[in-house]
């Protein structure tokens, strides 16, 4: 068997793994990255990137349809048609370009990439089963960055017409009738996109609201838009069974048992860490529930073994994995590093978009909580975008005005994430934001307005 020796071995070429490997490589660490499928992981291949491309195309098609007939803002188009094959070709092109970009990045960093599935022999040795036979890799440090996979609903196994998000992005045509089980952000994003592409979409959610982790004020604009798009919402509803031949999804909801006739069932009830077949059971790493327990240096309970990204506890987001990857690369390269982030921004590319950075109001004791909102109804920019649904909300500490959380819902608010994260990460006060000029007319002004409302007086009320 071939043997490879290195300083750092990264298992998984997703956003966490490739950032870690490339950064370590550029710092002169002899690094090997093992990837079982395609570089870029879930994010680039079957997650963030293709889904955002799909959402963009669906939005364009939806706008064109609104512009047909009597038109929109005086823009009138003839009845648009959808060439979904061309849409998918474009999506694939975006993905391919980014994936090859990752390959180039790793190459320039001097990282050796091995294709295959890695399995721990011991804490420092892994057997990689690849297309050209097995390779034994010995490393001083190992990073587990194998990510996550879609969770299944009991009684509704994946296969046939029951698909996960990967399957949804691989469909050659939008289904005529689509049931989405789980109204978390993935289900809402894809459900909305397919509705805009013409599918009849039914959302089935066990909780009494969509995006149950957020408060009702934040999700109300999204829920309203789902109704506008003709998406059927089945809240407080459980899946009872599935008849693959008939294409019938049985659910039990508030109005009693019901049978939905659909062509596809998209299951988006969350994701679980993907550690099967890694041989972790031999290492006996300390677990945190289903996740691998790590400290603030992403160290597991075994010396020299690190874990980053979706296999560790925390929001399953690419940018968190990337930041963890940086921490581990720095530690392995002998630099001082540690996870000390104040916030991990979370974006839902729903319609309208939802942005959450830092603490939600409920997470702050009421006695010392100051919440301030600025509605987009008064925003000039929102009016010119013809989309005034939404608001910016600041959660601050009443006693010293330190910002603790910022949320926004509205058109394109995902792009506001940077400013909000900067404010929280740097410990700014309401007064700092209120005294910073925000460009007019932009949606970003809502942030300043909300800060002013909490400290002094608003310019527009």
């Amino acid at each position: 068997m071939n043997e490879v020796t290195c300083t750092l071995l990264v298992i998984g070429g997703g956003p966490g793994g490739y950032v870690c490997a490339a950064r370590a490589g550029r710092m002169g660490v002899d690094t090997v990255l093992v990837e079982a499928a395609t570089l870029g992981g879930t994010c680039l291949n079957v997650g963030c990137i293709p889904s955002k491309a799909l959402i963009h195309a669906a939005g364009a098609f939806h706008t064109a349809r609104r512009q047909s007939g009597s038109g929109l803002h005086g823009v009138i188009v003839t009845e648009p048609t959808l060439d979904y094959g061309a849409t998918r070709h474009w999506m694939g092109g975006v993905v391919d370009r980014l994936v090859s970009g990752v390959g180039g990045l790793l190459q320039r960093a001097g990282v050796r990439v091995i294709t295959g599935r890695a399995r721990f022999v011991d804490g420092k040795t892994l057997r990689v089963e690849g297309p050209e036979g097995d390779i034994l890799v010995r490393a001083e440090a190992v990073v587990i960055a194998t990510g996550s996979r879609a969770a299944a609903v009991p009684g509704l196994p994946f296969g046939g017409r029951v698909i996960d998000s990967t399957g949804a992005l691989a469909m050659t045509q939008p289904p005529a009738r689509l049931a989405v089980v789980g109204a978390g952000y993935i289900g809402l994003e894809l459900g909305t996109a397919f509705a805009k592409l013409g599918s009849a979409v039914t959302l089935v959610e066990a909780a009494p609201s969509v995006l149950p982790q957020y408060d009702e004020r934040l999700t109300r604009p999204v829920q309203r838009r789902l109704n506008d798009l003709g998406i059927t919402l089945k809240l407080d509803a459980r899946v009872e069974g599935w008849d693959e031949v008939k294409g019938a999804l049985r659910i039990a909801g508030a109005e009693g048992p019901e049978e939905l006739a659909v062509d596809r069932v998209l299951v988006t009830v969350g994701r679980v860490p993907m550690v099967d077949g890694l041989g972790l059971e031999e290492l006996g790493l300390r677990q945190a529930g289903r996740f691998i327990a790590v400290d603030d240096g992403c160290r597991t309970s075994m010396r020299g073994v690190y874990a980053i990204g979706d296999v560790t506890e925390g929001p399953m987001l690419a940018h968190r994995a990337m930041a963890q990857g940086q921490v581990v690369a720095d530690i392995v390269a002998g630099r001082s590093a540690g996870w000390d982030k104040v916030c991990v921004p979370a974006v839902c590319f729903t319609d309208p978009e939802i942005l959450c950075v830092g603490l939600l109001p409920d997470a702050v004791p009421e006695a010392d909580r100051l919440v301030s909102e600025s509605s987009f109804r008064a925003s000039g920019r929102a009016l010119t975008l013809d989309d005034t649904e939404g608001f910016v909300r600041i959660v601050a500490r009443k006693s010293d005005h330190v910002l603790l959380g910022i949320q926004a819902v509205g058109p394109g608010v995902a792009e506001l994430a940077s400013g909000y994260a900067l404010a929280l990460e740097n410990g700014l006060l309401l007064e700092d934001v209120a005294a910073t000029i925000h460009a007019h007319p932009t949606l970003s002004e809502g942030f300043q307005e909300a800060a002013m409302a909490a400290t002094d007086m608003v310019n527009h009320c």
Partner: protein, 411 residues
């Protein structure tokens, strides 16, 4: 003259209680409005509490280290005239500006007073500052930031690092010695300790006491009668409990003449009370403790301690004890191994009260707990006898009603 009472203001952050970390005043001090009375520490911040009125302090809530609930009485100030008391102090962070004037209050005076915390409880600092601190091995929790809301700035880190580098006692070798002659009281202490520790084979028992009931009783008595009778500390209660416990354990209240081979059991309790003075440890003796009531005991302890500290104690007050009690008050540690006052056969050590989690059979509950650390002369007191004596003391202190019940089973 009017006496006003001031409570611990709400210092924000949703906290229910704070630790009195430092008193800047004591009863008798004259303060002016806005003078700092004390510093209180929450798990998030250190906040200075200023006086809301000018006058003379007549009472303070408790020693530094005590936990005090928000809204509990903090100080009493005697003021001139009979004007109504001002609004209670309201915590206000100096850096939280507002359009409306706020009531004066516990300002975090000037800058660099507040230990600022972010939403996750970690020090408030920009990522660049955190990163540099990590590189330099500085724990940012040691710093007090000078930025808005106490945010730690690069300049604060600079100052901390340069201060640490030039601190005189840091990483510098020193030479030279100092000789101090052991004379006077110090010499007597040395001789006494040598005798005790060389002759007596000590063993110690440390027992945990739940003092919730005792403290509640003490607080109540101080509230209702403290003004006229004088404030009660814990010690008089321990002495009353000792009197009760010794009735059934006469072997503990004894002296041992090891040369003659005779143990003398005493019917009277002449209680030695270890007292720290400027000159060193003194053990004034409270004679016939068994014949005093609670208030008399308290008064007698006070008088003896004052006399010893003033070095005015009569020789008779410093000898003839049959059992000694030692207590360091708030410094009383978790446990101690007290040295027996020869020729006695036991000594009772009182450790400090602390709130500890206690398993009540279903959950952990916060209880005020205090340890007793007692040492015994194993030549004449066996472990079993000592343990039953300590267990009895524990019972009496945990159910203080038993101390004051007439005709108890011991007598």
């Amino acid at each position: 003259m009017t006496e006003w009472s001031f409570t611990l203001p709400d210092i924000g952050e949703g906290i229910a209680e704070a630790e009195l970390s430092d008193w800047r005043v004591k009863p008798g001090d004259v303060v002016r409005e806005d003078d700092i009375l004390c510093e209180v520490t929450t798990d998030k911040a250190v906040v200075e509490i200023p006086a809301s009125a000018s006058g003379r302090i007549t009472w303070i809530a408790g020693p530094a280290g005590d936990m005090l609930a928000i809204g509990a009485e903090l100080v009493r100030i005697e003021v001139d005239g009979s004007a109504p008391p001002p609004e209670p102090a309201v915590a206000e962070m100096a850096t939280a500006p507002t359009a409306a004037p706020k009531p004066r209050g516990a300002s975090v005076s000037g800058q660099a007073r507040l230990v600022a915390r972010g939403g996750d409880g970690r020090p408030l600092a920009a990522p660049s500052v955190r990163g540099r601190a990590r590189e330099e091995g500085v724990d940012l929790r040691q710093l007090r930031g000078s930025g808005p809301a106490g945010r730690i700035l690069q300049a604060d880190l600079d100052a901390f690092l340069s201060g640490a580098a030039t601190a005189p006692d840091r990483a510098r070798q020193r030479t030279g010695t100092e000789e101090i002659k052991v004379v006077g009281i110090r010499r007597r202490i040395a001789e006494k300790m040598t005798l005790s520790k060389a002759r007596i084979p000590h063993f110690s028992i440390i027992e945990e006491i739940d003092v919730e009931a005792l403290e509640a009783l003490r607080e109540r008595l101080n509230r209702t009668q403290g003004a006229e009778q004088g404030k009660l500390t814990l010690l008089p209660f321990v002495l009353r409990a000792l009197v009760r416990a010794l009735a059934a354990h006469p072997a503990i209240n004894a002296t041992f003449d090891d040369e003659a081979g005779i143990v003398t059991r005493h019917r009277a309790l002449h209680c030695g009370i270890a007292t720290q003075t400027d000159a060193g440890l003194m053990v004034p003796v409270l004679r016939h403790t068994e014949a005093l009531d609670l208030w008399q005991t308290a008064r007698a302890i006070r008088e003896l301690a004052e006399a010893s500290r003033a070095q005015k104690a009569a020789p008779a007050d410093l000898s003839g004890s049959t059992l000694t009690v030692t207590s360091l008050g708030p410094l009383g540690a978790v446990a101690t191994t007290p040295i027996i006052n020869h020729p006695e056969v036991a000594i009772v050590g009182i450790n400090k009260i602390a709130v500890r989690p206690v398993w009540d059979g279903g959950t952990f509950v916060p209880r005020r707990m205090m340890n007793l650390s007692c040492s015994f002369d194993h030549r004449v007191v066996d472990g079993w006898a000592a343990a039953t004596f300590v267990a009895r003391l524990k019972e009496l202190l945990e159910v203080p009603t038993l101390i004051f019940m007439e005709g108890g089973v011991d007598e």
